[in-house]
Every structure is written in C-alpha cells, then in structure tokens.
C-alpha cells in the first residue's frame, strides 16, 4: 500500500498517522506539504491527519480545505481514490465538500480528550472490513469541534445507504446520550462518501494501534486499508 499523509503547517498528528499507516503497510507513508500542487504518483491512500491545520480560528478545516494540495486530493477522490480524514482531517474533508454535513463546537463547549467506545456500523468499506467480529472498539477522541451535524434528510440518507461507519456507544454497544462525547447527531462518529472510498471520523484509531500505548483496537482500520488495496492489485 502506497500512502501519503498531507501536512499543513498546524497538523500535529501527521507523524502519528504516518507511523500507523507505515506499520500496517510495511513501507513508510510519504509526507506531502500543503503548498504542493500535486500528489506523488501511484498512491493508493491519501490520509489527512489531526491537528489545527491553519490554527482553525475561523472554522476548523476551512482554510486548509482551500489550499493547493486539496485540489489534488479532491481530484484523487473523484477518480475513486481512498481518502481518510481523522479529526481535523474529517473537518477538512467536510469543508472541501468531499463529505456531507458539518462539524460544530462540542456541545459541552470544552475540548475533550479521552477514550470512547465506538460501534463499527458497517464492514462494507476499505476502512472497516477487517474489524470482523470486533464490533465495539475503544479509541481516543481529542477535539474541540466534533459535533457532527446533519439535517433529518441527510441523517436518514446516510443511514439508508449504510454510510455511517462508526457511532459513539457505551461499553455494551448502546448509543446512549452519555456515550456521546460531543453532541453529534445520532451519535455519529464517522461517515463514508457515497462511493464508500472516503471516510471522515473524529476519533483517533492511530492513537490506539500499538500495544505499548494501551490497546490495539484502532489497528484493524489500517489492516483493512492494506487488504483493500491488495485485493485490487
């Protein structure tokens, strides 16, 4: 799997994500600077990391979504490329129009960094196929603006098209209000594009993909990607 991580001046999970991708793929991810106009050739996966791309003072991801490299990412996505956006990456994908909905200030108005439980809502995607029976996972969130907002029609469509990848749940797998760390509609933690090749999610699977860090529940996401790419090849 050939992957690239996009680096904005305020990205700060770029290395974390590159480590997780590299460990799964057995080859390092390339780091691509936001001022570049083109992606390296032959990529299978483009990943947009967490952080505060341009300080995120206006709206999270707004300025990043309009930077030169994002035109190339949008092209890549339109050609059917696999694109993963985590945390700030999710915000950027939404601002770039690659995923529907909006992400707003957490309902508590506070930054929240802690482990949450997620239910893996679908295995039908290059990001989730390897979760198998492991349908409730534990991974961290760390964000200030992660409340996923969708109107009724959009939420219903995402549901009907099986495009909700993850939901916030409690340890028993129930999508309760208490399990929702940010006030997202329908406890939605991650959504897929209509071609299922783009995923945006607020939680950080890359932070819990190494036993030394206290868990590996995030690792199957990166395995899924490697398998999905291998299948095509």
């Amino acid at each position: 799997m050939k992957s690239a991580v996009i680096v904005f001046p305020g990205s700060n999970c770029d290395r974390d994500l590159a480590v997780a991708l590299g460990a799964a793929a057995g080859r390092p991810a390339s780091m691509v600077w936001h001022k570049d106009a083109a992606l390296p050739p032959g990529l299978d996966v483009v990943a947009i990391p967490g952080g505060f791309s341009f300080g995120d003072y206006l709206r999270c991801g707004a300025i990043a979504a309009r930077s030169p490299i994002m035109r190339a990412v949008v092209d890549f996505a339109h050609r059917g490329g696999i694109v993963l956006g985590i945390c700030n990456g999710f915000q950027i994908l939404i601002e770039a129009g690659l995923l529907p909905g909006a992400l707003m200030r957490n309902q508590t108005l506070k930054f929240v960094c802690r482990d949450v439980h997620l239910s893996v809502e679908t295995l039908q995607s290059p990001f989730t196929s390897a979760f198998g029976n492991q349908r409730v996972i534990r991974v961290p969130v760390a964000h200030h603006d992660g409340a996923y907002i969708a109107d009724y029609a959009l939420a219903a469509r995402l549901e009907a098209e099986d495009r909700i990848a993850f939901r916030y749940v409690d340890a028993d797998g129930d999508a309760t209000e208490a399990a929702n760390p940010n006030g997202s509609v329908g406890n939605i933690a991650g959504v897929l594009s209509d071609n299922r090749r783009i995923l945006g999610m607020m939680p950080h699977p890359e932070r819990l993909a190494d036993p030394q860090l206290g868990g590996t529940d995030g690792a199957p996401m990166f395995r899924s990607l490697v398998e999905a790419v291998a299948e095509v090849a």
């Binding site: 601002e95 909006a102 108005l109």
Partner: protein
C-alpha cells in the same frame, strides 16, 4: 473601504455557544432572556475604493471562505 461581514447560523441549526450564554445570563440573574444566538463579525479593510466593486468582492470572500453556507448565512455591510 471597510466592510463588515456578519456570519450567523441558519435558523434551526443548534447553537451551543448561544445556549451556554443564555444559561449563564440566567445564572447571573438576568431575567427575561428568551433566546441567544452567537455569530461572527469579520471586519475587512480593503484597498479597493469603489463601493460596489468592494461589496461584490467581499461577497465572493464570504462565499468562498468566510461562511460555511451549509449551516451559515452571511450579510455584507459596507462601512465606508
């Protein structure tokens, strides 16, 4: 020329910041506050001197960057 762009949440979009302010005003003893919405105001100083051209330019800025038209409305006001 100077322009002001007001960016506000569309009606129906939940506004946790506004809600928090309403709540805090209540605890501070301010009665009769029925609703609170919070928005942004962005003041832009432009080299352009023609008001009509300036306004059109600022509207384009709002469309392209300043507002997220999925959830936000904007309004441009020329100040002088």
């Amino acid at each position: 020329m100077k322009a002001r762009v007001f960016v506000t949440l569309k009606t129906g979009v939940l506004d946790p910041q506004g809600e928090a302010i309403r709540h805090a005003l209540g605890s501070l003893g301010f009665g009769g506050v029925e609703s609170v919405r919070q928005g942004k105001v962005i003041e832009i100083e432009l080299a352009e001197t023609d008001p009509a051209r300036a306004e059109a330019e600022v509207a384009r800025m709002a469309e392209k960057l300043l507002a997220n038209t999925v959830i936000e409305n904007y309004r441009v006001e020329m100040v002088g």
